[in-house]
Symmetry: C2
Subunit: 490 residues, 2 copies
């Protein structure tokens, strides 16, 4: 006798509520420009609205959804707003959202090939095709000795690369008996802080990361890198790893990867290329030169969840020698490794990442690539770069402003010709205004405004509005803010 | 003049295709029992079906969805089938899927409180309420010195705990200049392999993990632990960390956490409790004793994405002293830490995890807790344990079978009274049959069948069917498989 009592949502109710949720999301995208881009919630405000107790008895889905509207929405910073120009883009799209929905609905685990073969094989194939689209070398394909895997973030990708480098250098000794503080890694002063964090996580020590000076374009100075490596070797240390960046977070600087790659090749160092921010540009033939020199790289990462309409998390990570990665992260002792895995007939992706479990993240990427097609993706990437170019021209034409770093893709670093304090005030006023959200960085010690053009629906009208707001706000503040106050802020 | 050309999915199309996808998923759940639970795809089969090229021009969503049906479905192992009894449950539910959908639709980043305050505050509040529901100590709440965070997996949670322990012991020295191979951690021979992997990742060395022997119930022997710690200290090593498990993956064994906790407390070791598999039981007052002794723990983890109807990834991780965790994982040097973060007024969750970016994962957990209500969740957890009890009784009543480990919750370890080879053949035949999927482990050197009762819709009829299939397959194989062949397999 079957007991049929159940608190589960029936499939009929799922159909009904699921469609309500789809409409809710469509409504959200249709109205997202009506919300202040940067959340105005004060600390604790959202938490207080949620109540102090879990419900004893279940609540209706409509009530839950109403609470999402009333309590969650006011506490969000709207990353999908066309007026979002802060940090980095984390753009999404219809096909990506529906791919994530399908992944959640199927609820399969991809930790081993056998726990859901399609979960592994779609990922491997899509990353092979994407490697080709980006002009990455043959060695990165699963058909050779390499292969690609989806990580949650570029932070995790660089950590995995670093551990693979650590073990290649130590012959698995660090994995077995621990690190000894003699291994050294290299990046530039502009490299994302996730590498410094990874040095700590991996037991190598943050102080063993050498942050090499950059040139006037904020790109790593390869000469200085070579000198530092020799100096470290002379001091009895073991150089193991170099990270170069194609499009730094701070200013979108492009490191000279061919020069760096040759040094790594001569010195026998693991060379990782972080193209998280800007790697998408290489899907356009005219920007593929971005990847010149990548043939020297042992690993490469770019984030479709930043600038390719695929919602977070989807960070694509390739290695030229998958055995080095798997050897560093596999938990099976070698004598238990199976022939199928070793031969490359199947990949067990748990051995390509830190966690064991994994969702079917390749679905959303596969949906995006197919729905847009290569030309559809290229169109929007080119459009973002074109709009960025217009913005650069407007800034250059205004004598009150200056561009402070090259803008090769879709990020502009600029400042009002005035004190740091005035620039900070301009940014704060703009963000409080709610129509746009932009953030800052420091370059050559100065406070610099950053404006990124990367949300899916950011169009000419939005960039025009942003620029007009920036210029008008600067002009207004210049007149009303006493100079002494500005100086105090500097 | 706005350029309106676009390859994006319009909101109208999103409404239409989104509803198609919702119906597709509902249809899937209505028919999931018609598919073989374990995928029958051969290596390379799915990949070959996907074609060798990315489309130049975008494809219609209906075509993409049709491919998902024709090419993906046959390559899946159906984790949501009521006949899935393998590994661990990774169950999901309507409200969880729709929470994930909302998270994908909003597309916000929760790396900092300010990048979307609601993303952080819902998570903090929900984990506070959940801590109360599980009977976890006051110290784990955000209102004290502790707090909870959602990790992608218990693997990542134990890695974070281990790094916090490493830094507490070394006074941030390991983070700064690297590990020195003298720090030692402890677990049992039955602890999940993710800890051994974490020892390697964290630069501590896998050989510095002491796997303590277990008792006849496969639970860690606290006496032996104390002896090993003393012996390591005498050898000049630094014991730093102990992991105890509530419900091991292999046999669901429950370590004596009060005894282990007292030892950790006396010795000053970081004590982590991994309740990933079975912690959900503590939401029922009659199983809350599971957590007796957890007041000694520095950190605790349980996975709603295993046995609480919340789709992967959702691993809840609490610490008693958040400053220790944040201090180990924050990339800001201490002199730059801000007062708001330190005072607990806001949490920046990037400092509670390995990656920088993070999705709004708390939404699905919040949806599940509200939709089911506390009593709804308890009903289904009790029901799974009750069904497991029935299965145990049937096995015990059959003289051909034996139970080989206690079954405190929803996992049964048993074997046919025959050779290991025969048991392996039984498992393989059952899995090839497609109606159920179960996996194995080794206990006391013998091949043991594991049957887990944890999928959302697994009911009495499914457990009955599974048992009848097991018994009938065993009986049939015992008669037809020549003894010599069985012995060769052993």
């Amino acid at each position: 006798m079957s007991n049929t009592k159940s608190y589960h949502m029936s499939t009929d109710d799922f159909r009904r509520h699921g469609k309500e949720m789809i409409d809710w999301i469509a409504d959200y995208y249709e109205t997202v420009e009506s919300y202040p881009v940067l959340a105005r919630a004060r600390p604790g405000e959202v938490a207080a609205s949620l109540g102090d107790e879990l419900p004893v008895h279940g609540e209706g889905f409509s009530k839950i959804l109403r609470d999402a509207t009333e309590k969650i929405l006011p506490g969000l910073t709207h990353w999908q707003s066309p007026g979002f120009h802060a940090y980095f883009p984390a753009n999404t799209s219809g096909p990506a959202i529906l791919g994530e929905l399908l992944s959640a609905g199927l609820g399969v685990q991809g930790m081993l090939w056998s726990t859901s073969p399609a979960c592994t094989e779609v990922e491997t194939r899509v990353l092979d095709l994407l490697a080709e689209l980006l002009g990455l070398p043959e060695s990165y394909r699963s058909t050779g000795n390499g292969g690609g895997v989806i990580q949650d973030s570029a932070s995790s990708a660089v950590l995995c690369a670093l551990i693979a480098a650590r073990e290649r250098d130590s012959g698995q000794r660090s994995n077995r008996v621990g690190c000894d503080g003699t291994q050294v890694a290299y990046c530039s002063t502009q490299t994302h802080s996730s590498l410094e964090k990874a040095m700590g996580v991996a037991g190598l020590g943050r102080a063993n990361l050498r942050q090499i000076e950059v040139d006037e374009r904020f790109a790593l100075d390869a000469e200085r890198l070579a000198v530092q490596i020799r100096s470290d070797r002379a001091a009895g240390l073991r150089p193991i790893f170099v990270c170069a960046t194609l499009g730094t977070t701070s200013s979108n600087a492009v490191d000279p990867i061919a020069d760096i790659g040759r040094i790594c090749s001569e010195e026998g160092l693991w060379f990782h290329v972080d193209a998280a921010m800007s790697g998408t540009a290489a899907i356009c033939p005219e920007y593929r030169h971005l990847n010149d020199g990548v043939e020297y790289a042992d690993s490469y990462c770019f984030n479709p969840h930043k600038w390719m309409f695929t919602n977070f998390d989807c960070s694509c990570f390739w290695v030229a020698d998958r055995a080095a990665l798997v050897g560093a992260l596999s938990i099976l002792p070698e004598y238990l490794a199976n022939e199928a895995t070793r031969s490359g007939a199947v990949f067990d992706y748990r051995d390509w990442q830190i966690p064991l479990g994994r969702r079917f993240r390749a679905l959303k990427l596969w949906f995006v690539l197919r729905y847009y097609g290569v030309e559809g993706l290229r169109y929007h990437i080119r459009r973002h770069i074109e709009l960025t170019g217009k913005l650069v021209a407007w800034i250059e034409a205004d004598p009150h402003f200056e561009i402070v770093a090259p803008a090769p893709f879709n990020l502009v670093c600029f400042r009002y010709r005035g004190s740091d304090g005035l620039n900070q005030r301009i940014m704060e006023e703009l963000n409080e205004g709610g129509e746009i959200f932009l953030t800052h960085t420091r370059l050559n010690g100065r406070f610099v405004l950053r404006l990124c053009v990367g949300q899916a629906r950011t169009e000419l009208e939005h960039v025009e509005k942003a620029w007009n707001l920036v210029a008008a706000t600067a002009e207004r503040l210049r007149r009303i803010v006493p100079l002494t106050e500005i100086d105090q802020l500097s």
